[in-house]
């Protein structure tokens, strides 16, 4: 048979595709799966950060029948910088979550964060207004940038990092709650519960910012981290969110929602839909739905409120216009 150039190219593409599929089958990129048949999400309406949030949140958490009795709960808010604007997860919400988990029977609540840019963690905690919430006996703050570290083999291999040093307080926690601020992000598209886990990677080893994760691929690093440290629950602060040039320099966007979920992919997909984005167009969410949780709406049970697309999608930098969901 004569092998012309077109045939040769066609055969090469077929061989490459077959090898790719075989490689994925023989060497899957993740060794764990946290997906369940169905996940639960509750979207709570809250117009402002007030004392009323605590009762609202506690009622919302009770819908999930969580078993945190006697457990150490780690709350991982998104505390980034000491700058004005809706940059950090609201301290009112973090404090309310800490007290709610104690009321639900947790033996201890640890609020842990390793800010990505600002080395002075005390400055970030002060400016976020978190200090008054740390006065209760069973609530403590841990600087994840400087905690004792253990080397951990990653349970997924998207980034090629293989292993990471991670904080003891995170690895020892019984129940990890990601508490993102709902924001756009100028490198990742969005920063929600999965991206929020960048903050557990310690600055004392990887620097400020954790630049090695950027060079290894932001989406890839997110997938590897979240495969290794599973998120048990999400409380997303979407009361005042951020659009445009997030995560630091965007504009405030009043969304008026708190999103609760027992699955980080379901939480992020719901938040993305609330922002007017197609979650399938965010790489770490679309890939995460194969093993970190559920993305499809028919696999997400809504316990409270519904998720309508916003009247106006969140604004984004021109590079991220592809995120917008098609109008139905």
């Amino acid at each position: 048979m004569k092998l012309d150039r077109r045939r040769f190219l066609g055969s090469s593409v077929s061989v490459a595709a077959t090898v790719g599929i075989a490689a994925e089958w023989a060497w899957p990129k993740h060794s764990v799966s946290y997906r369940r048949p169905r996940s639960a999400v509750a979207v709570l309406n809250a117009d402002e950060y007030s004392e009323k949030i605590e009762a609202l949140l506690l009622d919302g958490l009770r819908l999930f029948r969580l078993n945190v009795l006697g457990k150490t709960v780690l709350l991982k808010p998104n505390l980034v910088e000491d700058v004005p604007g809706p940059v950090n997860t609201s301290a009112t919400l973090v404090g309310a979550a800490a007290r709610s988990f104690l009321r639900l029977g947790a033996s201890r609540v640890v609020i842990g964060e390793g800010p990505g840019h600002q080395r002075d963690t005390e400055l970030v905690v002060q400016s976020a207004g978190l200090k008054p919430h740390l006065s209760e006996r069973q609530i403590e703050f841990v600087d994840l940038n400087r905690d004792e570290l253990r080397k951990v083999k990653l349970k997924a291999n998207y980034s090629g990092l293989g292993e990471l040093w991670l904080p003891r307080s995170v690895l020892d926690a019984d129940f990890v709650v990601s508490m993102p601020k709902v924001k756009t992000h100028h490198w990742a598209g969005v920063t929600l519960s999965l991206k929020n886990m960048f903050g557990i990677v310690p600055g004392m080893k990887y620097g400020w910012p954790k630049n090695l994760l950027h060079w290894s691929g932001i989406h890839e690093s997110i997938l590897d981290i979240c495969a290794t440290v599973p998120i048990h629950f999400v409380i997303a602060d979407g009361i005042t969110a951020m659009e445009g040039n997030g995560p630091l320099q965007g504009s405030a966007r009043q969304l008026g929602k708190i999103v609760l979920a027992d699955d980080p992919v379901a939480a992020d997909a719901t938040c993305a839909r609330l922002m007017g984005f197609d979650p399938l167009r965010v790489r770490h969410i679309s890939e995460g739905c194969h093993f970190l949780g559920n993305l499809r709406e028919d696999r997400i049970r809504v316990l409270a409120e519904g998720v309508g697309a916003p009247t106006r999608p969140f604004s984004v930098l021109p590079e991220f216009r592809y995120l917008f969901a098609a109008k139905s």
Binding site: R119, D120, L123, Q126, D147, G207, P209, N211, W215, L248
Partner: protein, 303 residues
């Protein structure tokens, strides 16, 4: 309680937190941090009851075979802390091959922009972050870009260690590091963690990065950026209530002959007896700031 009494109480607290290995952890773990150890060693170095021998022994023992120091005990990868360790050895008068090996490692280390491919990429396609990739400094760990704080500490360490015997290689590397710092200054003065403009929007300066960058530039010509950054730092220092940032402001403003007495008084009030400051690196930096003017400044660069 007078200032000297306050200082000696804080020194005692810091001494009590030293690990049997001779190092200090950041918080209460047994995993020694090279940053916390260097700062604590420098803060207690001039203290007659201090034990620089055990600190130096820890540092020499934890140096890696390539001359670098890891960020913490148990890690085997060289990090930015190599610069801080070299400063500590120099200031504590430890004359050994450890310092020469550290210098050699620092002269070789560079941010990823040090490679022509990445320089080319930053110049041609990756333009959302504005900086001159020809001017590169030092990374936090290898495999990442240059950042302000590791570059500033590396410049200080090389300047201090080579003050009497500066080779062309050292001079060139200092020059490139200084150029990188001057390139990355924020529009309103000061330094953010790395770049000054992202997606066309200027970033806001950070106190600690600004204070440490100014320490690295203390013997350079007072350019407009340095002057503007000093003004910014002085203004911000007046209102900051965080111990670490305030301490770095004092250490930096002091070498520029600015008055720091009022800032030291405020720092002493924030510190109390120091027991509430759980982070040993912060406590040591605060101690260094309180002792400013009463001991050899650990980050001073002689001309």
């Amino acid at each position: 309680m007078g200032r000297s009494a306050e200082v000696s109480v804080i020194e005692k607290t810091l001494r009590q937190r030293q690990l049997p290995s001779g190092g200090w952890s950041y918080f209460s773990s047994k995993q020694a941090s090279v940053e916390a150890t260097c700062l604590a060693g420098l803060a207690l170095g001039s203290d007659s009851r201090g034990d620089p021998v055990s600190t130096l022994r820890f540092l020499k023992k934890s140096q890696l075979s390539d001359g670098a120091w890891p960020a913490f005990q148990g890690d085997s990868e060289g990090a930015w802390t190599t610069a801080l360790a070299l400063c500590a050895l120099t200031v504590l008068n430890e004359i050994s091959d450890a310092s020469n090996r550290a210098l050699r490692w620092l002269l070789e280390a560079r941010g990823i922009e040090g490679h022509w491919f990445w320089r080319w990429k930053f110049k041609t396609s990756d333009r959302n972050v504005q900086f001159d990739p020809d001017k590169y400094g030092w990374p936090w760990i290898s495999g990442s870009a240059s950042w302000v704080i590791p570059t500033a500490f590396s410049v200080i360490a090389i300047k201090q260690f080579t003050v009497c015997n500066r080779s062309e290689a050292s001079e060139n590397r200092i020059h490139l590091g200084v150029e990188m710092l001057l390139d990355r200054g924020c529009v309103d003065g000061g330094w953010n963690s790395g770049n000054s403009v992202v997606y066309g929007v200027p970033l806001r300066a950070h106190l600690e990065a600004t204070a440490i960058a100014l320490l690295a530039l203390q013997d350079e010509r007072r350019s407009e950026l340095i002057q503007r950054s000093l003004v910014w730092l002085k203004k911000e220092a007046d209102s900051v209530d965080s111990v670490s940032s305030l301490a770095w402001c004092i250490l930096s403003l002091f070498v520029y002959q600015e008055s720091v007495e009022a800032l030291k008084n405020r720092l002493a009030t924030l510190l109390g007896d120091g027991r509430d400051i759980r982070n040993n690196a912060t406590l040591a930096t605060a101690l260094l700031a309180l002792k400013c003017g009463e001991m050899i400044h650990p980050f001073v660069v002689l001309r």
